[in-house]
């Protein structure tokens, strides 16, 4: 513990403050106090960002859909999340008779917990992080799977057939998308040579979004599937399954599920920013922009950018069908992720310790492979298909003149 303590400036400073306050005999409590304080700050920061995220999402969706979005509560509707929260808390807590008490209680709690726990490994500054796990990347693909379990618990436990169908879809789909997601991260791990997120950020002389375009695409798509957002919102497909696995949840239980869902957007944006856009550092290649913003703001700015992209996808794309979604995961994303992994591995074998120029050559090779894959895919699709609009023609029947 002490070793990670030393390089973590945030921890060390707070620890000193606590040590000054406490008598000698209680110095062990300083460690506890430091940890709890930072956890409190982090959790609240994520929750605040989530609340702002729901507001932003609704406003942006409104712009996309030629309407206004929430604009009544507070200036520009900024207090809307607060109003929603008050409304949800004061609602009656209903549990259907056919629901299973334990699973029905556990589902929302587990889901929020799994969302919040992921933040622990995201570094928000060079020396400030909650935990620098040496298996950080593994942790952040492992922990969110708890959400899958809780979805199934909620869907099955609520004793509703829509919910059951939604839950079954959720499990089938999320397990499929775990695979390309993890494989896509392999390329990054090979380049960074470490699973610690701090090391991954520091390894990005060039942001990995440039070095690993395929991995970025695969991760973005799988992540939006993991977050069950359009076009992969099958498990809560409103037009088919009413609300999917959370059909029966109401009041604050529903609130927690929604919180977890939007929270996952925030957390995934943080992960994307860390893995592909240099985390807390500036995203630009000349590094002397570092002083423009404090590291935390760089990170939050990038998170907002990704949240915007997720909203954009949600506003634009219709939903896919379950078999198409599965086929996409196994036939498109998984091979792509494998190709990326092999190409990256080959490049790293060729240049185990790349210079800056060699890194740029790697960028070129990876983009060439990405464009090649895209072209191949487009060609293979286009061969079988005529233009879709050709199936309807205009029949001319001359007008009678009378």
């Amino acid at each position: 513990m002490e070793s990670s303590f030393d390089k973590n400036a945030l921890f060390a400073n707070l620890n000193d403050i606590f040590l000054d306050l406490l008598p000698e005999s209680l110095s062990w409590m300083a460690y506890l106090g430091t940890g709890l304080t930072i956890i409190l700050i982090m959790v609240n920061a994520v929750l605040m960002l989530t609340a702002f995220g729901t507001y932003m999402e609704r406003r942006v969706l409104g712009r996309f859909q030629t309407r206004l979005g929430p604009n009544r509560v507070g200036p520009f509707g900024l207090l809307q999340p607060l109003a929603d929260l008050l409304k949800l808390i004061t609602k009656e807590d209903l549990r259907p008779e056919s629901a299973d008490k334990i699973t029905f209680f556990l589902a929302p709690v587990l889901m929020v917990t799994s969302m919040l726990v992921v933040v622990a490994v995201v570094p928000f500054g060079k020396d400030s992080f909650l935990a620098d796990l040496n298996i950080g990347v593994l942790y952040l693909v492992g922990i969110p799977t708890i959400a899958t379990v809780s979805m199934f618990l909620g869907g099955w436990g609520s004793g509703n057939r829509f919910a059951l169908l939604g839950a079954a879809r959720a499990v089938a789909m999320l397990i499929s998308y775990e695979v390309p997601m993890i494989v896509s991260l392999a390329g990054i791990l090979i380049l960074a040579g470490s699973m610690s997120l701090v090391d991954v950020v520091q390894a990005q002389q060039i942001p990995f979004i440039l070095l690993q375009p395929i991995a970025f695409f695969v991760f973005l798509v799988s992540a939006s599937a993991e977050m069950n957002r359009s076009p992969f919102d099958l498990m809560e497909a409103e037009s088919e399954l009413t609300a999917g696995f959370h059909t029966e949840f109401s009041g604050m239980r529903f609130g927690l599920l929604q919180l977890a869902e939007f929270g996952e957007v925030v957390v995934t944006s943080a992960i994307l920013a860390t893995l592909f856009l240099r985390g807390w550092e500036n995203p630009f290649i000349p590094a002397d922009w570092q002083q423009v913003l404090p590291p935390q703001l760089w990170l939050i700015g990038k998170m907002l950018f990704f949240m915007l992209i997720f909203t954009w996808i949600r506003a634009t794309l219709p939903r896919m069908r379950i078999d198409q979604v599965m086929a996409f995961a196994w036939k498109v994303l998984f091979p792509l992720a494998l190709i990326n992994m092999f190409v990256t591995a080959a490049l790293v074998v060729a240049w185990p310790d790349p210079t800056y120029t060699q890194l740029w050559i790697m960028v070129g090779v990876n983009w060439a492979v990405a464009i090649g894959c895209l072209t191949g895919y487009t060609l293979s699709r286009g061969r079988h298909r005529q233009k879709p609009t050709e199936s309807v023609r205009l029949v001319q029947i001359p007008a009678e003149v009378n």
Binding site: A168, L317, P318, R321, Q324, S391, V392, L394, V395
Partner: protein, 367 residues
């Protein structure tokens, strides 16, 4: 190893986000695959046909507004045509043009709604729906100008139409006609070749030509199955005989064709409106018809090409001020005939797509 599985039965509706009103389908599912369906309707039954027997011929117009409430103008038109046939009334030419003009505008509005909700059923989060509604709103504004109401218009009367359009109507209509094609093009660019839309709808919910004819399906659904049948051409009424327009005809009879036929019909409808504006003559808008009138005993049937299909009114008169019997041939209801054949074997997700692509309106199904 094959695990034993049981089928489950779920009730979609009557309160469900995408049943377009209060439609209910009991679906038996094997996993995601539809094994059996049982459509149940009647939740919106208001007894329109019986009510019509208690109203005078003029009053019934308001009842027709509430059949397919997305295409009130066309319902009006079908009803007044049946009454005119029954009572032998003359309709001035200007009134005929006004009817065709408003009916075509209404068809555009109805198709926009059909397209919007179809895409909503595909899961498109309301964005295309809001775009469609934005355009539809402009047409409803025109209706408000012309008759004071936006949805339940009651614009037509036996023997003509109620009001002369106000002077500001014509410039507004010209502006709409010049801007509308751009809106539709925008919509087409966004969705017609969208990979997911095509993947979800191409080849889904096939309605073969023979089945479509055998189950007397009409309207865009029939044309998407490859039958060039449009009452505006096959049995021209009002001034449709003078209009120059084409009929979009599909070849596969799948959900995509039904959707695309509607999109293309919007262009044709706008063509008709343009011709109406050019050709419309001056003159009276209604022949002299008393508020109460007694058609001679007998019966009459009139049909129009409504936005959903062939809408027919069959009226029987016993010489009184109200019809003895009023039978409505509602296209939405009859278009549901082949629903079982179209749905079996598809997945739950397809159910909503296929149902949405039929574009039925529950106000008309239950009457």
């Amino acid at each position: 190893m094959a695990l034993p599985s049981e089928s489950i039965t779920i009730n979609l509706g009557p309160q469900h986000p995408s049943t377009h009103g209060v439609f209910r389908i009991r679906v038996t599912l094997d996993g995601e695959v539809i094994q059996d369906i049982e459509p149940i309707f009647g939740y919106l039954h208001r007894g329109t046909e019986k009510l019509a027997e208690e109203r005078t011929y003029t009053q019934i117009v308001t009842l027709t507004d509430r059949l397919d409430y997305t295409s009130s103008m066309i319902n009006n038109q079908a009803y007044v045509m049946a009454t005119e046939k029954l009572a032998g009334l003359e309709v001035p030419e200007r009134a005929q043009y006004l009817r065709v003009l408003t009916a075509e505008l209404q068809r555009v509005a109805s198709h926009l709604m059909g397209i919007g909700f179809f895409l909503q059923d595909l899961g498109a989060m309301g964005t295309p729906l809001m775009y469609c509604f934005r355009e539809r709103e402009r047409i409803l504004d025109l209706f408000e100008m012309i008759c004071g109401a936006r949805v339940t218009v009651s614009y037509m009367r036996p023997g003509g139409v109620t009001q002369e359009p106000p002077p500001e109507f014509w410039p507004a209509l010209k502006e709409l006609l010049s801007e509308f094609p751009h809106y539709i093009d925008e919509l087409e660019r966004l969705i017609l070749e969208n990979e997911i839309v095509v993947a979800r709808t191409k080849g889904v919910g096939l309605l073969p030509r023979e089945l479509a004819i055998d189950s007397s399906i009409s309207g865009p659904n029939l044309r998407a199955s490859g039958v060039a049948w449009d009452l505006r051409k096959a049995d021209p009424y009002d001034v449709y005989g003078r209009m120059d327009f084409d009929i979009p005809v599909g070849s596969n009879g799948d959900s995509y064709d039904r959707f695309l036929v509607r999109v293309m019909e919007i262009h044709q409808s706008l063509r008709i409106v343009e011709q109406c504006v050019q050709q419309i003559p001056d003159g009276p808008i209604r022949s002299e018809v008393p508020y109460f009138f007694r058609p001679p005993p007998g019966d009459a049937y009139a049909h129009v090409e409504a936005s959903k299909g062939e809408l027919g009114f069959y009226l029987v008169s016993d010489g009184g001020i109200a019809p003895y019997r009023c039978k409505i041939r509602a296209p939405s209801f009859i278009n549901l005939t082949a629903l079982t054949e179209m749905l079996l074997g598809w997945k739950v997700a397809d159910l909503m797509v296929i149902f949405g692509s039929l574009d039925v309106n529950m106000g008309e199904v239950d009457r």
